[in-house]
């Protein structure tokens, strides 16, 4: 299958290894990956902070960036982020319609219908749970709110993780509680956000896991930023990075490590 990768603004700019891992994984599963160069952001941060008018041109850019891909045989757009996919599905057309841009809203809806969060794409579209990954670490999984409650990904990430060779999956207590990120909430209500983060970290640390994983780089940047500040030693790794790892190339990149420019095929570094 020919798939287009939407890296998301955060992953593209701050944690590119997550997008590299997503591409590596999809290619390993036999699919052709294209990366439309005009992509930037889904508009979620603007909508959720109250700038829904200003989000409309961002939505337009997103639709423009992927329109070419869809007309050149791309069957699906894959995104390594639950909350960006939730925004694409639930917000993009709505803000366009509210601004009177009905044509854009229709296009956004059509694009959304082809857009999948990574674990949904793997399990529902490709029908695989064992992606041939190898990751010899003790791992706990934070389900992330928008994957859980807006996309209803359910236990798909856990199905994928259970099939990873060498991986010891430990259950996260209070898994369904928000980590306190919430986009600009983390800054506008920094104290409350930190209180939520503290409880999330306490639960992560109680599992004695080496790695906390999730399907959203934003939540991981929050949890990982807290764990790093505490010098805890438990690191955050995106689900895509775990699934991209094999016996030949294990990629335990920590979220707070500066990411060197890396070739698309990850080199062994562990």
């Amino acid at each position: 299958m020919r798939v287009a990768l939407f890296a998301t603004c955060l992953v593209d700019t701050m944690v590119p290894q997550v997008a590299h891992a997503t591409a590596t994984l999809l290619q390993r599963l036999g699919h052709e990956v294209v990366v439309p160069p005009g992509q930037s952001c889904c508009g979620q941060m603007h909508v959720n902070t109250g700038y829904r008018r200003e989000a409309v041109p961002i939505v337009a850019n997103h639709v423009r960036a992927f329109a070419g891909a869809l007309s050149s045989g791309v069957e699906a757009v894959v995104v390594p982020s639950g909350s960006c996919v939730a925004s694409i599905h639930h917000q993009q057309a709505a803000v366009a319609r509210r601004a009177g841009e009905h044509g854009l809203a229709d296009e956004a809806e059509a694009l959304a219908a082809r857009t999948y969060e990574l674990s949904q794409f793997l399990v529902d579209v490709l029908g695989v749970t064992d992606v041939g990954a190898y990751y010899p670490h003790r791992v706990t999984h934070h389900p992330t709110c928008h994957s859980l409650r807006m996309l209803r990904v359910g236990d798909r990430p856990l199905q994928l993780l259970r099939a990873v060779r060498g991986l010891e999956l430990v259950e996260l207590p209070g898994a369904e509680s928000c980590c306190g990120f919430g986009g600009t909430f983390a800054v506008k209500n920094a104290d409350t956000s930190t209180a939520m983060l503290t409880d999330k970290m306490a639960n992560v640390l109680a599992t004695s896991a080496e790695v906390c994983t999730a399907g959203d780089a934003s939540c991981l940047m929050h949890i990982g930023g807290g764990l790093s500040r505490l010098r805890s030693g438990t690191r955050t790794v995106h689900l895509a990075e775990i699934l991209a790892s094999t016996e030949e190339s294990v990629t335990p990149q920590q979220g707070t490590r500066p990411s060197p420019s890396r070739p698309t095929t990850p080199t062994a570094s562990a």
């Binding site: 590119p16 508009g43 603007h46 109250g50 709110c145 509680s177 409350t192 939520m196 490590r257 500066p258």
Partner: protein, 491 residues
Amino acid sequence: MTAVFLGIPTAPAGVGHLRGDRPFPDAARDALRDGQLRANLGHATTTIRGKRAGVVAEVPDWAQLREAGRALKAATMARLDEHLEELERQVTARGGTVHWARDATEANEIVTRLVQATGADEVVKVKSMATQEIGLNEALEAAGITALETDLAELIVQLGEDRPSHILVPAIHKNRAEIREIFARTIPGVDPGLTDDPRRLAMAAREHLRERFLRARVAVSGANFAVAETGTLAVVESEGNGRMCLTLPQTLITVMGIEKVVPAWRDLEVFLQLLPRSSTGERMNPYTSLWAGVTPGDGPQEFHLVLLDNGRTAVLADEVGREALHCIRCSACLNVCPVYERTGGHAYGSVYPGPIGAVLSPQLTGVEDNASLPYASSLCGACYDVCPVAIDIPSILVHLRAEHVEAQTRTTPEAAAFRALSKAMSSPRLWRLAQRATGLGRFLARGRPTLPATLPPPASAWTRTRDLPTPPRETFTQAWAREHGSQEGRA
């Protein structure tokens, strides 16, 4: 903004309890430091969350019930005026008197006048959010009338000269040791050997209240529901103290928000299943009191119903926000909210705290009077999942944030930043330039894996408690284009 265009009044300032005296983040900061509060709330919300989840899971048709509740509320709101007039006709036909109160001030005046007409200087009260909202107790006190709360938790709050912090459990922020201390200090003639055993505490409150029930001539209540076709009012409760107030005094005055009306008697079938399971986590509440007008020789011989607007019509005028009026005050959203669980209810400044309060209070007062509340949520969505009438609280929060942003007449620094970012994110060329600017981060980090913890505001709000990774040398899309060539022709 539709509300302003139509000129529909919001709840007036200076009366009632819908506005805090400081923004949510400031009030929350203090609450978060109160370890006892955090422990009390964490314990109570965890317990009630578990109870609710258990009794909801055992109802096989909960999803259909929830949809029925949502649909009934939506249909009722669409013809609210007709249902209210029918309610007035039916209450009047059964010997009650209906009063229309535009706002808190009018409602307080009406109730005060009605109590004064009876000659009483004391009223007993059934737990009621509407009367808390309008500050009725303070208004009565100003007229020399003592209002005595009889709901156990409201009594604790009143005796402690405190404020309610939860819709259903107003004293949720107090543990039983603190309650014992309040009772020992404030109840005249209380047993000096009073312990913090819940049963002993309840007995002390009962003894204190019983005498007042028997001497009361006037009671004031709220209402959970009002059935238009029969003129029936409904109060559901756990303790039976409400039943005492509703049956013993000669005069009963009920203050009810206009959104509480349901068209038909059979609508209660849906709501009386949804409410107790969502609120107290019980299959059925112990007391359901229903009355219509007056019955000679049985119960109050004089009944007044005060229909309160206080900003509700303005809420109804907002096609996104009006869903907040569907709320049946179960408080399930408070109990699952990770923000409420940590800050408690007082931080919200309004008698309606938690997720529903964050969408209801700003709409009742006008968004600018409660501008920080729509942001008091991480948009995790737990509230929407548990709401028994499926109010999409996260979407309303986002809508109200936009209403606030669009109400600004001057460009704030935040707005300038978001507009600039919107420009950049709408143009691939500008976006690549903006991404390149993150090189500044690498300069600040000077080779370290994370940025300094002491960045200037607003970045400091993040870095005070969380590390921020140093941006990479090259973005993913740059690296991909370098390795694969531009896919413009292919994509």
